[in-house]
Structure formats: C-alpha cells, structure tokens
Symmetry: D2
Subunit: 335 residues, 4 copies
Amino acid sequence: MRFFSDNAAPVCPEILEALARANSVDTAYDGDALSARLDAAFSDLFETEVTALWVSTGTAANSLALAALCPPHGSIICHREAHIQNDECGAPGFYTHGASLLLGTGEGAKLDPEEISRIAGAIRDDVHQMQVHAVSITQASEYGMAYAPDEVAAIGDLCRAKGWGLHMDGARFANAVAHLGCAPADITWRAGVDMLSFGCVKNGAMSAEAILLFGDAREKAEEIRFRRKRGGHLLSKGRYLAAQILAMLEGDLWLDNARAANAGAALIAEAAPDRLVHPVEANEVFIRLSSEEAAGLRAKGFDFYDWGEGEARLVTGWNQDAEAVRPLAQAIAAL
Amino acid sequence: MRFFSDNAAPVCPEILEALARANSVDTAYDGDALSARLDAAFSDLFETEVTALWVSTGTAANSLALAALCPPHGSIICHREAHIQNDECGAPGFYTHGASLLLGTGEGAKLDPEEISRIAGAIRDDVHQMQVHAVSITQASEYGMAYAPDEVAAIGDLCRAKGWGLHMDGARFANAVAHLGCAPADITWRAGVDMLSFGCVKNGAMSAEAILLFGDAREKAEEIRFRRKRGGHLLSKGRYLAAQILAMLEGDLWLDNARAANAGAALIAEAAPDRLVHPVEANEVFIRLSSEEAAGLRAKGFDFYDWGEGEARLVTGWNQDAEAVRPLAQAIAAL
Amino acid sequence: MRFFSDNAAPVCPEILEALARANSVDTAYDGDALSARLDAAFSDLFETEVTALWVSTGTAANSLALAALCPPHGSIICHREAHIQNDECGAPGFYTHGASLLLGTGEGAKLDPEEISRIAGAIRDDVHQMQVHAVSITQASEYGMAYAPDEVAAIGDLCRAKGWGLHMDGARFANAVAHLGCAPADITWRAGVDMLSFGCVKNGAMSAEAILLFGDAREKAEEIRFRRKRGGHLLSKGRYLAAQILAMLEGDLWLDNARAANAGAALIAEAAPDRLVHPVEANEVFIRLSSEEAAGLRAKGFDFYDWGEGEARLVTGWNQDAEAVRPLAQAIAAL
Amino acid sequence: MRFFSDNAAPVCPEILEALARANSVDTAYDGDALSARLDAAFSDLFETEVTALWVSTGTAANSLALAALCPPHGSIICHREAHIQNDECGAPGFYTHGASLLLGTGEGAKLDPEEISRIAGAIRDDVHQMQVHAVSITQASEYGMAYAPDEVAAIGDLCRAKGWGLHMDGARFANAVAHLGCAPADITWRAGVDMLSFGCVKNGAMSAEAILLFGDAREKAEEIRFRRKRGGHLLSKGRYLAAQILAMLEGDLWLDNARAANAGAALIAEAAPDRLVHPVEANEVFIRLSSEEAAGLRAKGFDFYDWGEGEARLVTGWNQDAEAVRPLAQAIAAL
C-alpha cells in the first residue's frame, strides 16, 4: 500500500461520474453552464460573495494569485518549507515576473505574525530592496498542521495593517477544515485572507483546482483571467474542470474525502504516539523511523518517502480511511 | 446543431473509457506507467525517435516549444492569422520572456519560403532589432488548409539553411494528415520540423495535448520539462493526460475522428461550392453568407460564428461526420 | 562631414562644464542636491507639477514609462516606424514583461485617431487577445515631422475616452518645440500626454534623458523608481546625469541647440525642394537620391545613411547649424 | 568628511580629462574607435583574450553576466550579504527572467566550496526545484575582504566540476588586487572565473563599468550584446563610457586609485585595532562603536553609516588616502 502522496491516489468515483455527466456539447473555454455555476457554489460555501476561477494545477492557482498580489519588484513572505518555495520550480517567480520569496521559519511549517514582522523588518525601505507586498501561508501546512482561525486572523490583521495581500495555499484546505471543524469562512475571508487556492486534486479530483477571490480581491478577477489565458491555463473544454469542482462541493464530498484521509492519518498517529515529529492534524504523518524499521515496513508492502535522516513521511489519500490503513497502523505499532 | 468550434464537441467515448481504465494508484506527475509509454507510442507513429511531453492546452504546447526555440531577444515568424498571434493572449511572449512575433501573409493562412524570407530580410542584422530564431506554421492552417509535404519541406529547408527552428502548431494535425493521406513523418521531421504541438482536444480528447520533439530538438526535452513545471503545467495526476493521448493513438482513433470531422466539412463544402472562401481541406468551412441567409440558418437551429462581413465559419467536430451534418448541408444548398 | 545621426555629434561645451561643476562629494544615487532640483526645473518649464526621473538612455526612458502604463498582458499602439518597435531590440517587451506593440501606419511616421481606432477596433474584447492599454507617439516623428498641439490633443482625447495611457517618445522633443514655437505644455499634458521621454542626448548631452510624469501619472513615480533600480538604471553617481539635464534647461540651451539643428536641416531642405520625401520640420531630411548622386556627395566628404532604394537620410546635430551645413546644401543643389 | 560610500566621491580628474578628449564626432553606440580598443586593453591587463563590454552601472554588469550564465528556471549561489541579493532590487531576477538566488553564509561575506556544496546539496535533482547553474562571488567582499587566488581557484574547481558558471562581482576588484598584489589573471580566469564585473565607478569613474568575458564565456558576448541593448544599456554615445574605462587602465590609474583608498582604510584600521569587526583588506572598515562614540565622531564632522547595533561602516574613496583620513584616524584613536 502506498503512502507517498495524496497525488498518487486514484480519482474518486463521483468525479468520474461528473465527467461523464458533463459530456455534451457546450460553449468552449469558461463560457459553459458549469463554469458559470462556480461563483454561486463557492459563495454558498463561504457565506460571502466569491469569485472562482478553475485551473488544472495548484502551482497555477498559487502563481496566478500571487502575481495578482505582488508586482515584479516586490517580495512575498512564506515559510521556507512552503510548496511555492520548494516544489514549484520557481513558478511564482515566473508568473510574478521576478518577485522574490522571503523565507521564514516556524514550528510545523507555520508562520506567525512575529516571524513575518521580523522578516519584513529586515527589509530597508528604499528602492534597493524588494519591498514586501504579500504573505502566503499554507493550510494545512507542509507538515500537516492547521492554522486555527485566530492564528490566521492574527496574520490577516498584520497584513491589513501593512497593506499587504494575504494568500492561502489550500492544496489541503479540506483537511484543515475537517480537522478544525470550523466554517470555511472562519479561516479565510473572515480572518483576512484575500485569495485562496482551493485544492481538489489531492482530495480526489483529477485535474481541477480553484482560485477563490474574496472581498476587494474580487476586483482582480479580470486581471487573473488574462494572466490565466496567457499562462496557457484556460482549457478549451473547461467545463470538465468545472464539473469536477462542482462534484467536489456537492453533498460535501470535499469534506467527506478529507475526513476519511484525516481519519487514516489519525489511526497511524495513534499507533505511534512516541514517534511523531509533528502533531497530526490533517492527512500527513511524520514519524521517527530507523532505516531498519523502514525496511521492515517496506518488506510488508508499505511504501512511503524517507524524510531526511531517521524520519519518514506517510500521506493518506481520500481512499485511505481508518479501516484501509489499519494494517499499516498495526505494523508500526508492532515495531 | 452547433458549428462554433471543435472545442465545443463532447469528449469521445474511448477517451472517457481510458480515463476510467487509468483510475488506479500510480506515481504522481509524469513518473507513471502511462506517461512512460508516450515516447514509444509516438516513435512508432512517426517512424523515428520522438520525445513526447503532455500538457493540458495547445497554448501551453505552443508556448513551451517556442520558448525552447527562441531566446527572449529573438523573433518568431508566423502567419498573421496564427493562433499564437491572435488567440493566446500573448502566451508565446510570456513563455519566451518577450520574444516577438513577426507577421506574414499568405493564402489560406499559410506561409511560404518567399514570404518568410521577405519578413526576415526586413530585419537589420544588428543588436537594435530582434533577430529571427524560429518559424511557426499551423497544420492544418487557421483557414482549414493543409501544407503538402513539399510545402513544409521548402520551409524546413529555409529554416535549416538559416539556422532557425521550425515549430508546427498541430492543433488540427490529425485533420491535415487525414486530408493529405501521408505519413505523419512526411509533414514533420522528414520535412524539417523540429517540434510539433500534437493536438488532441479539438479531436475528441478532454484535456491533453502533446509536445513532440524530433531529431536534435530532443535535446531540449530537459529544458522544456523545467519550463513546463515552472509554467504550472506538470499535473500531479498526469497519468490521466497520458491515458487520453494513448487512447487517441490506439487503433488510429486520432485519424478516424479527424476523418469523420473532415467528411462533415466536405459535405458542407459540396453543398456550397460557389460560396467557399477557401478550399476545404480539413474540418473548417468558410463560406460567403449574407446576414439574411445566416439568420435563416440559425432559425433552423444551426449555430456558427460570423467571420467578418458577409462570411461565416463552420467547424465540424469528431462527432459531426457526413451523416450528422447532412441537414446543414441541405439547408445551405437550399438557400 | 557626417550626417549619420545626432547621436554621432559631440557633447556640447555647456554639458562638459556642468559635469566639471558637479564634481564634488555628494550623496549617491538620486539623493543628491542636483537630482533634487529636477522636479522644480521641469515644473517651471512645463507650467505644471512634473515628476522627473533621470536615466541614461532613451530606450530606458521609453521602456520604463511604457511598463508603468501597460500590464504584461496588454498592448501598446505605436507607428510601425517607431523607435520602440524598430530600434530597441524589444526593450519595451522586456520592461513590460511581454506586452505587445500594435503597429499602425500614417504619413510621416505619425499616427492619428482614426488609425489608432482602427487598430484598437481589430482587437476582440476577450481574454484571448491582448487588450490596448496605451498609445505611444514620437515627437518629432521618425521622419522628422512634428505633431501640432491639436493633433496631439485629438489623440489625447481618444486615450482619455478609452482609459488608455498616452506616452510621448521625445528623443527629439526639443526639435519639435523649436519648430512648432509652442509651449512645451501645449503638446504634452495640456494635450493629454501622461508621460514624456524628454530627450537630451541627441540634442547635445552625453548620457542623460528624463522621464517626465504629468498629472495623475505622477502617482506612478514610486513604481518607476523601483523598476529603474531593477533595470540597473539607478546610477550611483546620478548627480552627473542631473547636472547634464539641468544644464540643458538652463538659459534654454535645449531650445537653442534644437533650433540650430533644425536650421541646418532647413537649409538642406531649401537646397533640394523637389527631392524631399517628407516635409522637414525638425532635424532630419529625407531626400530622393540616386546611388550615383549619393556616391558623388560622399566623394566630397559628406557621410549619411541610404534609406532604402533611391533615398537618403541626413540628420543634423546641435553643432550643424545653417552655416555649418552650407557646403552640403550647395553640393546637393548642384547635383 | 564623508565615509558613507565610495560612490559619494567625486570623479577623478583623469576621467574628466578623458571625457573632454573624447569629445568629437564618432560613430554612435559601440561602433566608435574608443570602444573598439577595450578588448585589447583588457586582454593586455589580464594576459589572455578578453571580450569587454561597457555598461553604466554595476547592477547592469552583474545582471547581464548572470543572465548569460543561468536560465530562467535556474539558481545562482551567492553570499547572503551579496550586493546582487541585498542592493539591486532584484535586478538579477529581472534580467534572468526569474532565476533565484540561493544564499550562503561565511566569514567576511565570503563563500567557500564547502558552503557552496552544502547549499547545492540541499537542492533535489528534479524538475520541482530550480537547479544550480552558477555561483557569484564578490571581490573584494561586501565586508571588505579579499579572496586569495587559491580561494577563488577552489571555488572555480568546484564550478568546473559541476558545470556551473562562475561570476565575480568586482565592484571593488581594484581594491582586492591592490591588497593581494597579485596579477588580475590570478584571481579571475586562471582561477576559473568566467565573467567579471570590472568596477570603475567606486574607484573614481563617473558612469562606466565593464563586463569581462574569459575563455569559453567569450562565446556569450553576442547574446549579452542583445541583452544589453534590450535592457536599455547600449548608450548611443557609448564612446564616453569607453573613454572612462580606458583612462582607468592607462598608467594603472585603477590600481593607484585603489591603493590610495586602501591606504586610507588601513590607517583607520591601525587606529582602531581592537574595534575591527573584520580584517581590513580593501577600502571598507567595520568597527565596533557605541552610539555615544558615533555621535562624538559626527560632531567632529565625520559622516558614516551605522551598521547594525553598535557598529559602523567607514568607506574610503580614491581621494581619501592615508593623509586625507588622518584626522579621522586620530579621532578614533582618541575615543
């Protein structure tokens, strides 16, 4: 059984069905009936007016959002473990036309206002340095931890006070909401988030993510539409992306899938309380594991990534709920 | 019945089946078993070693190819009706970091060596002007015409002699091959084409196109892989793109679909020989049509785009073969 | 005697003296006392509040201005003979991060509202095409013709109505003002110009040009300062640029130099009324000249550029007034 | 007396004289007789074939060199105190079209092979991360320390082994050579340096720096010429830049000026041996200084920058030799 990545999981059946249902003649690009329903669907979910644009990757979602928040000569503060820094081959620099990422540290790959202020404080206020224009945080974080509503709000307050934009990389937003049990609004626009990359692919979709714009940031929609086209991200049969996203929202599939993955991770965590490197709040488990122990698990058919010396990362997908991961949990407990 | 665009057609059933078949756990990004089969599949089809990379849009395919062929300070010659000039919101300029398009003219949206030489000849050989580095032609052209093998070869010879790269936008490559009855190799690498955007979406796929690299251009694969990731075009569940493309190639589905669409266009053309603006060689029909006539057709349920004053464009999809379009053909003949 | 370019002329003595006078310790970059005087000096000259920034080339001035007026996904309308199109190796595309130039035609390398509207009218209002954001005109034009105040105003009105920015490439602005006898304000902000590249180098300076911002465009100064630094155009000893510009303005040296150059061009024009390709309104003379005639003039020591088949371009510098060019005028008259 | 920056010093008289001597008609851009002499002059100095290009700022020199060494999707390793990171507003990111800087640490703002290897070792070898393509070191460093020939060679060996380019920011190259007493070749091409930004402005020039290309890197000259034009850095009266650079090289003015500045710094260092934060090897002195002491020195007319808490930076210019700075040295000794 594989625990490499939630990207390795198959597509969940409701998504495949939605694709089949969408399979008729309609207008090309984003002029179709399904794409037209996205704003309303997300506005319902987030209890406010939302402008939503589909794209096919999280990297595109993050980069297009950041390009709308930061000029080429500006900087964006993020955690040094952030996906936009470590896993996107400089896509934010490409889409922003050269803006730089300023890297912070913090437990569990989370930033806090003090660290953000420290980083910003090191930038001289002159034209010789790239000034801060935005902050990007990841929910749930790269280490599977969630920002509580008040933690996001504290960062949001700082951004508002400074005039910076606030972006949230929500590749695992669903897992964070499932853990926190809060309203999606509580950790986004109510807490000062301007733009959210709402992830679907790691949560069971095939190839659709959504860029969500809240409040004044909705005025950037037009610009982002041009940037999306220019980035080659306006699919001509975009209705198949909209169909995936709508299927995700329907009947709270997005939350059900995330809850299943979280439950799988929780069971693994329960089996190894003393091995945990970070608290398990989403669908990622980081454990201390000797190379012999790792070899032992692999010999039993469990695959996963080593995560530096003596550690391992185990990620559960929407189809790896508690029941599905029980054999792994037992194998770890038995080490 | 709609004749707006082959992008408006549904996905053909073989593609949906291939997506369902692909629906299991596999490695993320392009490390999966299906993606690994692409090079061989295209090498078979093109009778030479081909390196193939999937992307989800033709704009991405074109732009990534051009960025590998032309530096930021260079120019690319194309027809002034080319998709890369008129319909991609400057994506080639984005991906090349500012290269310019030099626009030529020519019957049926086709270029020839004389026109290309004329354009290049107007560029002074000094640092004050952006020097030509590549040519991009469209097969079939924006006006639905095909370059014969010797026409491509003449352009290829010029490019070789000048040291320029030659890119082919093959959004409707299948329709051109179906019309010409030649081997795919005859109008690509054998004729000097370095890179081909091999279109699938207009031909029945959902969201997959392929960038094909021939000969020495295969050395650019590594660079393009980085540019693809950086452009946000490395889908994490890339196997669903590979699955679409492999399904297209299997049993010559790509040719069957194109032949069907071409046949539909041919039937419309037969019904209106005196109205044709361009010879019909692929799946696009441009006809002279008064606004009253257009209104009459629309009243009968046929939808299509006006194409300037007194002209109309009718595009047939993979599912609009001769039988399917007969009512339109009869309605036009009856005008 | 050389009539290749006003760039080939030496630096005028007042400029060298100003450099010597500026030669003392002062603050680096643009924090010095001379740079601080630019806004006031230009505000006096233009009878309105002006924000002025020095750079060392006209290409930098034009590109920085355009980058502040047009987003990466936008277009700028200019004449197809414009310097920004033909002689800057794509610098506007570099500084705007990919905006495209839309090329118009017009007598004497001048645009008019009809042509501008025609070009803009060909752009579909959708995300597939780069929308117009600015117009750039050249004063005096590439063919040595001046836009009268009402001609600029007509373009300015169109730009205001459309919400486009209006940039003026004034590499030979002085020559235009000397010809028109108007106030500088009349052909700039009063006529709707937002940004002016105020040329000095072709008019006797060594290495200084000014970007002038009028009205609301002054709010872009901060952004341009960052872009200037980022482009490597914030000279650390910037006071020597400011010194040149201030010397140009002092005692109307800029106008005196331009009048001298214009007078030289006028005398040549008088000697060849039947040969003129364009009316001579600045310091450039375009004449019909057979290759034998050209060879004859060259044999007498007059150097200049051929300008296509059977034509020649003669440009006079600040040091080539009527008296200085009399031998050439006589030689042409004697042909 | 001001010790803010060597940029604040006046231009040295030989430079002004050279400008006056150059003041005659010549070909525009870099086609003039003076520009044509640069390659030979630098080839003599460096005892090898050198291709030299003038620009007007160190930021332009650094950025153009780096853009020729690193693709948009690559990374450049430099010290976290490097000018290209801290003082150029992201110009390298602009000119490279988005390459990132990877920041190292090291005593005296110097890198060594171990640190460089450590940084490179943290980059995964896949398309998700920007791969290392070049290293940039500063000679003398931001803290006024020089790399000895063997120190450069050790880095050069690593770069060769890895296939990376090696760039040297030589804004204060002269001061390093003056300190080391070595041949310029010993710390450049003989030690593996591909490109050098040869600084003149901090050393008494007005507005000229040189990009020097050694060995195989000379093949990049053509590309850099296009990039220079495109960046707006091809001055039309470029001969006045060439004149400055040639004057610098003539009679070893560049070394004499640097020796004078170094001697000034050395005298200050002698006066405060216990206060030194870094060894003084060039023309910068970093000393521990309480705020009361700083105020005391300022009250006596000595100006300089605070450098963090309890430290100060004193920079000497070409005109601040030992004799000139004696009053400051005495004032510091008397603290």
